[in-house]
Amino acid sequence: MQNFDFVKPATIAEAVKALNSGDAQALSGGQTLIATMKQGLAGAETLVSLTGIAEMKGVCQGDGGLHIGAATSHATVAREVATTYPALAKLAGGIGDPQVRNRGTVGGSLANNDPAACYPSGALASGATIVTDRREIAADDYFQGLFATALDEGEIITKVIFPIPEKAAYVKFEQPASRFALTGVFVAKFAGGVRVAVTGASNDGVFRWTEAEKALSANFSAAAISGLSVDAGNMISDLHGTAEYRANLVKVLTARAVTAA
């Protein structure tokens, strides 16, 4: 790993300033970034830690739902939303291992947008709002493919607002080695309709399964999607599963999520 400078600002403004001067990169839990730096695949002259910024940490109820600071750890989310949003708590509590959950953060996960990560499906199915240092981005506009998001250079997520559905569930089928999602499905039922977001499966990253949403909005039961089929055409195929297998998982896990919700 190459040498770097480290700064730990106390406010969002200071962080943004540090990030926009020279070769700098945001560091949150470091669970992705540090590993990629060790492999020589990432690196910056300055790392700007976000975990010392009080206004970016913690969970509270507010306008539009749960406000979760971007630098809040998975473990904190799992604990704090256990009663207010159990499906999201389960998602956070199922990430990695205790070490990863105590360091990794919701903002880091959403900024990274790993195609096999869990949070993107939770945010997309919830219709979350990604709040940054300069604007608010709807989840539907935020995710733009593998590791790609709507964030601009030097822009940081400060918090995420999760509307709380009437019913929801996240079902993750683990990739046997990494235990990331081989495929994961988050189903959220709101008064206005059902949203179904799928991670781990598509070559385009997290996506909404709109056919299932339509069917489930009319009839929120596993039976409602039994007649649907998922096109394997754009699914990921790798040593852990073929495209057809992933297409199958999307449907099986969606049904299970509906039953669990």
Binding site: A177, L182, Y245, V252
Partner: protein, 792 residues
Amino acid sequence: MPKDYGIGASSKRREDVRFLTGRGQYTDDLSIHGQAHAVMVRSNVAHGKIVSIDTSAAAAMPGVLAVFTGEDFKDVGGNPAGWLIKSRNGEPMREPKRPVLAHGKVRHVGDAYAAVIAETYEQAKAAAQQIADDAVIDELPAIIDMKAAAADASNRVHDEIPDNICFDWGWIEDNRAAVDAVFKSAPHITTLELVNNRLVPNAMEPRASIGEYFPGTGDYKLTTTSQNPHLTRLLVAAFVMGIPENKLTVVAPDVGGGFGSKIYHYGEEALVLAAAKKLGRAVRWTAERSESFLSDAHGRDHVTKIELACEKDGTFLAFRTETYANVGAYLSNFSTATPTFLHGTLMAGPYKVPHVYVNVKTIFTNTAPVDAYRGAGRPEATFSLERVIDKMCRELGLDQFEVRRKNFITPDMFPYTTPVGLAYDTGNYQATLAKAIEMADVAGFDKRAAASKAKGRLRGMGLSTWIEACGIAPSHLVGVLGSRVGLYDAATVRVNATGNISVMVGAHSHGQGHETVFPQIVAERLGVPESSVEIVHGDTSKIPFGMGSYGSRSLAVCGVAMNKAIDKIVAKGKKIAAHMLEASEGDITFEDGKFSVAGTDKAKTFGEIAFSAYVPHNYPLETLEPGLEETAFYDPANFTYPAGAYICEVELDPDTGKVDVVAFHCADDFGNIMNPMIVEGQVHGGVGQGIGQALLENTTYDENGQLLTGSFMDYAMPRASDVPFYNVDYSCQTPCTHNPLGVKGCGEAGAIGSPPAVVNAVIDALHRGGMTHVTHINMPVSPGRVWQAING
């Protein structure tokens, strides 16, 4: 009441106190004054011609002390294969030189072709990257698929070997015609093509080595992660570097697991020694985890076609196999013995099958070397046998238990010579099978299956009745079969003047628990507390010339050598006691730590005798040397043959293909048991590895020879949640007949017996669910593969 002391007690593992409190001293924990750091430059292509390696920029980088390439070692010896195999046509195997650093060509991703020594690790690493950037290596087509490699004479891993075949071995070639004849007329033949998946050993501690050179004496010292320091010394000194053995000390301190991968000598060991001499400084190297994936010797990797000829009632008539065994790019030290004499000789299993023929073609490919890994050849044999028997039972509608019973060698038939050349001394396969059936509550299976079905899951039960051969021996026989080493072991028992005891052993403990178990035997035999006995191992300057630990041999070979040395101690003690007690030697008895004159109350304690041996004031000096220290070497008369019956139960989710092992029952016959707790631990670990192989571990090279599973992100190791609470029994005991401890060895059993039990259970679950079109799924039986098999 279970014993709390000596042989048969579950004495707590004394070494765990330091391991679990971070006080172990592993190679990488040692810090030597003035040490420099080595980093290897490894090929990122599978096959390539080295055009040039410009090291000038790297050599000028900050902190860089020296740079080595293959050129620097081209005149030293190659790392040899330890076993010469002859092909069916009588020709000796092809043995390409395995250099310290690749020279001329690189032959697998991870093949080291240069090394940098620098003041710090970071500096060495940066310079290594510079060399990788500056080296010109012309990529050649990678040779990955074994059958394609053997069929294509134009593309060669080693230019001098046209068909990439190391050898084509027949066992026993003279029996081939008779076996073929049986197949021509057999009432039923079952055929199965299967893959025994390649495994990455993944010891918790990566390989590490420190080289030192002492100019004052011309001595070298190598501290390294080895399972057998004397063997490593022999290889690095005599074969590779041309250093006299007496000028090299090899120390293997605490070693964090090996599973076979640390038996072998690797180029990094020679490199750090050469660098230490050149620089006059200690030079250290520790593998990164990704280097372990690329450069540790891998295990298994067989592609096999097995055929079983039988009567319609399931009576075995013959087995015939054809196996392609991958040796990777170079011959690692035991790589030629593993697919042959540790595999073909086990191909009769515990069965009285009259005819067996085994053919193994060993192929060079542009992949990491493959060698012995926990079980080494015997898991491959067991998997082939137990899978094809299971398939036969399904084809003929026969009961799997009944078929095993019908074909087992019966207790009255021992000693029993198999058609593949082994002489089983003792066993009782009926007993372990009956025990396993009882443990697994086979009678209650249908009820459990119904409960699973109610949850939408399919339940299956799989059986494996396995046998293995431990403690490879005797030396004169293995010599005839091509071994280039002897396979004895040695121990020195040194009774100190104050009565406590140091035992120097040739075996090496890297997790097994020798430091606990060996003292139990000494304590039992000499009537001293276990805590007064210390085991010394892993340092060639302290221990006698033993062969180390692998092949479940430590207790069955080295433990017996130690027991022989104890016999000598007792015999000498009797002589001393006879003198001190003024009795004749024949009247002295030794029991519970006391030498007594038979029929009297005259006695001397063990401590008094020891003291007298070192302070020989009242001592028969004219006829007896002072001191109480004895060494024994032991070369066993035969292998030992542990065997057992394993029953696995799985639940399978037909919608996702996920398999959960819900129960695993092991009924093993290990002969006499020295420490039940440690035996259970060994079985747990072995079965865990077997479940890993069966369900999770997948070493995949793509067609360009890139390792797709080069990290734990893609290489799935078994975790606690993947294994059930094991049900382990070792009460069926037929003690080994040719060693005085009656022990057989238990270290590899779990990994040998378990994979077929798991896969048989998966096939059983599918068949019970009506999916009888699935006759086999290759390991690892991953969810994706199961689902694909179900859905055609």
